[in-house]
Symmetry: C2
Subunit: 297 residues, 2 copies
């Protein structure tokens, strides 16, 4: 039976460290880090995420500035708000909650964020630096959380075969690029597989480390995992209960019951990767604050 990776307690541990550092920096500089979060429209899931981010900021002493814009907000108005925040000294990080309404071009909006305030790590400059291996950048939060978990549960990553299922810009592509770098927290042989594969199991069965961000429950069954693999499940899928909507539940992309019998360690959903994602947003905001205040550590 696999070890269940307790993302929640790892996240709490990391948040305690961030809180401590924020306090120390406050004594030193008289200032607190600030994160601006922009929400456009009334997507309920986005509202939940934005609220969680605000709460997490509060817990560690980061000031959060929430900007809620009407669904019909024009792209120009959104970009002009971003320009204002780019210039605001009390704002160290800017996050635009995705997805945006369809009349707004996401790339154009992300490109408007000052790369030095892009704590989501989605701006091309940050993506490019991450790929090049220039660490003077922001790494995206979910892959950063996955990397943290992998490093806690795998000894000596050098040459380990990491198979990434999914090629999104938010998880699959950045994590693959981070884990292939020549540094101590990476140095893996990396395979990215996705919907174009005739047989995903052929690839996943080879994985020492299997990361799944496919967006579909049951993508990975027990017979698709090598004995002793470390499995990181990034998926979050809501399964409705047809008779009682209050009893809907969250599941990942991995069949937990089957895979936990084969793997050495596995993240649960919820309580695995999720808590790490917001923690890494806090860590990135702290990094931005130190950068803007020229604090070298």
């Amino acid at each position: 039976m696999a070890i269940i990776i307790d993302g929640k307690s790892i996240a709490e541990e990391l948040r305690a460290e961030i809180r401590k550092e924020v306090n120390e920096l406050k004594s030193k500089t008289g200032k607190l880090p600030g994160l601006a979060v922009i929400l456009v429209g009334e997507n309920p899931a986005s509202q939940v995420y934005v609220r969680m981010k605000g709460k997490a900021c509060e817990e560690v002493g980061i000031v959060s500035f929430q900007h809620t814009l009407h669904h019909d907000t024009s792209q120009d108005d959104l970009v002009s708000l971003i320009r204002t925040l780019n210039a605001a000294p009390e704002v160290n990080g800017i996050l635009v909650q995705l997805p945006l309404p369809s009349h707004i071009n996401e790339n154009a909006v992300i490109n408007a964020i000052d790369p030095l305030k892009d704590v989501d790590g989605f701006h091309p400059v940050n993506v490019g630096k991450m790929v090049i291996g220039d660490e003077d950048c922001f790494y995206p939060c979910t892959p950063l959380g996955c990397q943290e978990l992998i490093n806690r549960y795998v000894n000596d990553l050098k040459g380990k075969h990491l198979v990434m299922v999914g090629r999104s810009n938010i998880v699959g592509k950045p994590l693959a690029n981070m884990m292939v770098q020549k540094n101590k927290r990476a140095n893996c042989i990396v395979t990215i597989c996705h919907t174009a594969a005739a047989d995903i199991g052929y690839f996943t069965r080879q994985a020492d480390i299997l990361v799944v961000a496919a967006g579909k429950p049951n993508t990975i069954r027990g017979n698709m995992v090598k004995e002793g693999a470390v499995v990181i499940d990034v998926g979050v899928n809501r399964i409705e209960n047809p008779t009682d909507s209050a009893k809907s539940k969250l599941v990942g992309d991995v069949n937990f019951d089957e895979v936990s019998k084969v793997a050495a360690a596995i993240t649960p959903v919820p309580g695995g990767v999720g808590p790490l994602t917001i923690t890494m947003l806090l860590a990135n905001t702290l990094k931005a604050f130190k950068y803007h205040n020229k604090i070298v550590q």
Copy 2:
């Protein structure tokens, strides 16, 4: 016996198309595309490459501006030349020949190039856009040449397993990122393997398409390749003849004699990928010219 991929004649065909388009654009705009090439120091190999690039420009009607700087040139002076070229309307592409002398920070120099003139595709903005799948960018020349060859020799890339040996910023990482994208010229399952692998053959034997940029002769032997694979050899290694230096010869990273008996198609060295690299530099310069002159096609 494998088909020998004739990079030289494919490059000639592409250059003829570029020449034709340059002529047409000259009639239309009264202008010619311009490429500035900067060489710092007297590295003999770099001198050869710069000369080849100048000659290739001439052949297709691109104006080449060559800037040869002394080995001791300061980083500031180099960056200031780049700023001048960024502002020069007759210059559509800027290329700094690498490697630079050790007192100069390569990243800082590349970052100074206007991304819209970065025809080498090494600026973080271009690397980031490539990864994100935003095609409004410059792709690096050698990977672009490999992609062209792969598309000519493999039908329907969807789901094919491409194994990339090597993780350099010039070839391995960008090609892996290009070939995993969801588009018709890519859509492969991609594995990047490198020096950290205990057994490279384990990965290379799985490849439908094997691309090798390891920088070492004989990295790939006959028993490391699947029957029927398409093999792209990016390596260029000079083997000296101990008794007669004039008889030195170029070889790739792949043992050609052995692998050509197993593969379906293989690039020779020289005459495989090499001629495509400079051709893609010309294509990128033409793309930059059209961009700067707002010519949509």
